[in-house]
Symmetry: C2
Subunit: 152 residues, 2 copies
């Protein structure tokens, strides 16, 4: 069970993973080694999934991103699982959500340009038997990214 120390640490590290642990330790009221031990436990338990650098896609040569709403023919779990496994391996897919309602999936996809996005949809969506339809929302900007959630 997470106590206030863990939650304070997670709140801080979600915003800045480079915060020196001795400083964080002082802030939450622990010694540095105690804070490191908790940090290791949070990492090993998977509560901290990864620690990453946020880089704008265009920096990496992917200037255009899209949100894609995907509807399947039928949502049997075998079909869904197979498609998830496929989509996870595609480098263009930055984020993938499995949702309720009219749509079954939402993808956040990056592309070099519109032509390669079209090639992606042909390869991954259009040729996929189980995809009934999809709608593309072209992203003009992302004013907020990976906003840190406070502990409630």
């Amino acid at each position: 069970m997470l106590d206030r120390f863990d939650l304070q640490m997670l709140t801080a590290l979600q915003q800045d993973a480079r915060l020196p642990i001795p400083e964080l330790a002082q802030r939450v009221g622990l010694s540095a080694p105690a804070c490191y031990r908790r940090l290791r436990a949070l990492r090993e338990s998977g509560l901290i999934e990864r620690e990453i650098a946020l880089v704008a896609p265009k920096t990496m040569g992917w200037p255009v991103t899209m949100l894609v709403l995907v509807s399947l023919e039928r949502d049997h779990s075998r079909i869904v699982d197979a498609l998830i496994a496929r989509l996870q391996t595609e480098p263009e897919v930055m984020d993938l959500w499995y949702v309720t309602g009219e749509q079954d999936f939402v993808l956040h996809v990056a592309a070099r340009d519109m032509a390669s996005y079209e090639a992606f949809t042909r390869r991954v969506l259009h040729d996929e038997e189980q995809v009934r339809s999809f709608t593309t929302l072209v992203v003009l900007g992302q004013p907020k990214r990976a906003g840190a959630l406070p502990a409630i």
Copy 2:
């Protein structure tokens, strides 16, 4: 302009920001201090926006997330900018995209439960004059999050 050293560094740090720089330096073929100097430049120029810990929302007490498709009455830039500024400050909003097409915005929103999501929509969307309509897609799972883009 970014050379292959910068791009290799960005590719690696997008996947693991805790990679020791001496190891990254060796991997890309630089000395550690040269690698540190480039890293500082990448941070100061904003190409590395932030370095963060990825924590599942439910860990922080936000077990349910939604994708919300929002349509505005009209998309004059003054209206759009004001709404963006408002949404950026809302802690429930993890991600915010500004898109083309039928919809104007897509939000990735976290909530404690459905009741507090409803309270959020009432407060931020329903009471907002400029919001014509919105559609909620309840997220059942996020099989891929913050996928790192390779340099092209």
